[in-house]
């Protein structure tokens, strides 16, 4: 589990790591997808002898991250702009209302 050894992991291990991170990202964890992609970039992209599925997992993780990031930003902007006009239901889902409103 020592992260310092990550540049010496085997191909199969790398595949299993990338795969697990990809599956884990489906639990509403786009940040995990991004970390999966960055992990690939840092350690695995210069090792062409590794199984090619790794590249696909990394690529789809990046795609998934971008999509969820867009959805998230759209939702938050919608919320911030329309919070007042939603009245009661807007307050119900609010955690923090700026002072003075």
């Amino acid at each position: 589990m020592d992260p310092a050894d990550d540049d010496t992991i085997s191909g199969e291990k790398a595949l299993s790591i990338t795969k697990k991170m990809f599956i884990g990202g489906f639990l509403f964890l786009p940040w995990l997808w991004l970390c999966n992609f960055l992990f690939y970039r840092e350690y695995l992209s210069n090792k062409p002898q590794y199984p090619p599925q790794i590249r696909r997992f990394a690529f789809f993780s990046l795609v998934g991250f971008c999509i969820e990031a867009v959805v998230f930003v759209v939702w938050y902007v919608l919320y911030m702009v329309n919070r007042k006009s939603w009245g009661a239901s807007g307050d119900a889902i609010s955690l923090l209302i700026p002072q003075g409103e």
């Binding site: 919320y79 889902i93 609010s94 209302i97 700026p98």
Partner: protein, 385 residues
């Protein structure tokens, strides 16, 4: 919506903290790998014998120690910067009025004697909690209950990142006066905490792993700054003395932990920051034709507990004034460098707290009682130094 996070959460958090502190590593250890014989570089035509073996080692060691000092300094400084920034940002917030209490709360009209005994009493309670959890932890390690240990570490980290992270995030949002809905908040915290545990205990990009270690230390340190001033200082002193005892004394639990781990040739099961450098063996007499086949890594491991307590002192200094931040920072870093020097000389696990805390607190007290009034007085009279 105001939520007094800290008063009633504190007792639970105390044990949470104690549970995380001990596994935060026994001070600072030197990592020596691989075996010494392999690390000697020979200049052309030389035979390996006693005299060059030592010389090569010493040259290499000095080089790598110099680099590791810088590698350690960066995360320590980043944690402190994070803590100072967070403390200053949320200081004006509404949760400021609620003081975290351990058992005895310092009231504003307490005289010198009352503050003294209360702070010592609070610190003693913290020490008792830490002592208990350390002993349990060492026993678990000796009997190879690694699953329990890792389970404990991971749960503590998740709770820390999730709860304290949420608390800090909430306080920041309040300070910035930003609207936030439940869904986004939970979503962000969920991502933050889960990926945090993955990054610390499993595999993740280096920067993310280091970043989370810094964040987790910072979060605990920020939490500690909610304590009253003298309690914080008393806790720091008592924990530094405990560190000294636990790592160096023959019956010290942390010493036993390090020795057992070294005997079994296993890494210490704790939250450690691994500051390592690649050692390139540059050989001036030969042409550099191939890249280094197996670049050796040597490192210094600093326990997260040390990050935390350094930052607690700096965070407390930040609550006074920025001038104390700078002087305490110098004190703590000087202590760290002295400890690293000792590490290079003595080559065994050392407690990283005592020297730094001693210097840091001394500088803090001298600054707040002497330097600060001095500069204020000069400034008010129009005399600038």
């Amino acid at each position: 919506m105001k939520k007094p996070f800290f008063s009633k959460w504190f007792v639970a958090a105390l044990f949470e903290m104690a549970g995380v502190r001990i596994p935060l590593g026994p001070g600072i250890t030197d990592e020596i790998r691989p075996a010494r014989e392999e690390r000697v570089t020979l200049l052309e035509g030389e035979q390996l014998d006693e005299s060059n073996a030592t010389r090569e080692e010493e040259d290499e060691d000095m080089d790598y120690h110099a680099e590791t000092v810088l590698t350690i300094l960066k995360p320590v400084a980043l944690t402190m910067i994070f803590v100072v920034w967070a403390v200053k940002t949320i200081a004006g917030g509404t949760t400021d009025n609620v003081q975290a209490t351990i058992a005895f709360s310092e009231k504003s009209d307490d005289g010198g004697g009352a503050v003294l005994w209360k702070s010592i009493a609070n610190a003693a309670i913290v020490l008792a909690a830490i002592f208990l959890t350390t002993v349990i932890f060492v026993i678990l390690y000796k009997y190879r209950c690694l699953k329990i240990i890792y389970g404990w570490l991971m749960t503590s980290s998740t709770v820390l990142l999730g709860l304290f992270g949420a608390g800090l995030f909430y306080a920041l949002l309040e300070a910035w006066n930003v609207a936030m809905d439940d869904i986004t908040f939970v979503f962000l915290m969920w991502n933050f905490a889960i990926v945090g545990v993955v990054a610390i205990f499993w595999h993740a990009p280096t920067r993310i792993n280091q970043g989370y270690l810094i964040l987790i230390s910072g979060l605990l340190a920020i939490f500690f700054t909610k304590l009253p001033e003298w309690t914080t200082l008393a806790i720091l002193v008592i924990i530094a003395l405990w560190d000294l005892f636990a790592v160096l004394a023959p019956c010290g639990p942390l010493k036993m932990l390090v020795e057992t781990a070294q005997q079994r040739q296993e890494p210490i099961p704790a939250l450690l920051y691994n500051a390592s450098v690649f050692v390139m063996m540059a050989n001036p007499n030969e042409e550099p034709e191939e890249p280094e086949p197996n670049p050796k890594r040597k490192g210094v491991k600093l326990g997260l507990g040390d990050f935390i307590f350094y930052s607690v002192l700096i965070g407390r200094a930040a609550l006074f004034d920025m001038i104390t931040v700078f002087t305490s920072f110098i004190g703590v870093i000087t202590g760290l460098f002295l400890t690293l020097l000792l590490l290079a000389i003595l080559r065994k696990a050392l407690p990283a707290l005592p020297i730094s805390i001693a210097l840091g607190i001394t500088f803090y007290l001298v600054t707040s009682y002497v330097l600060f009034p001095f500069t204020i007085t000069l400034g008010s009279q129009g005399i600038f130094v």
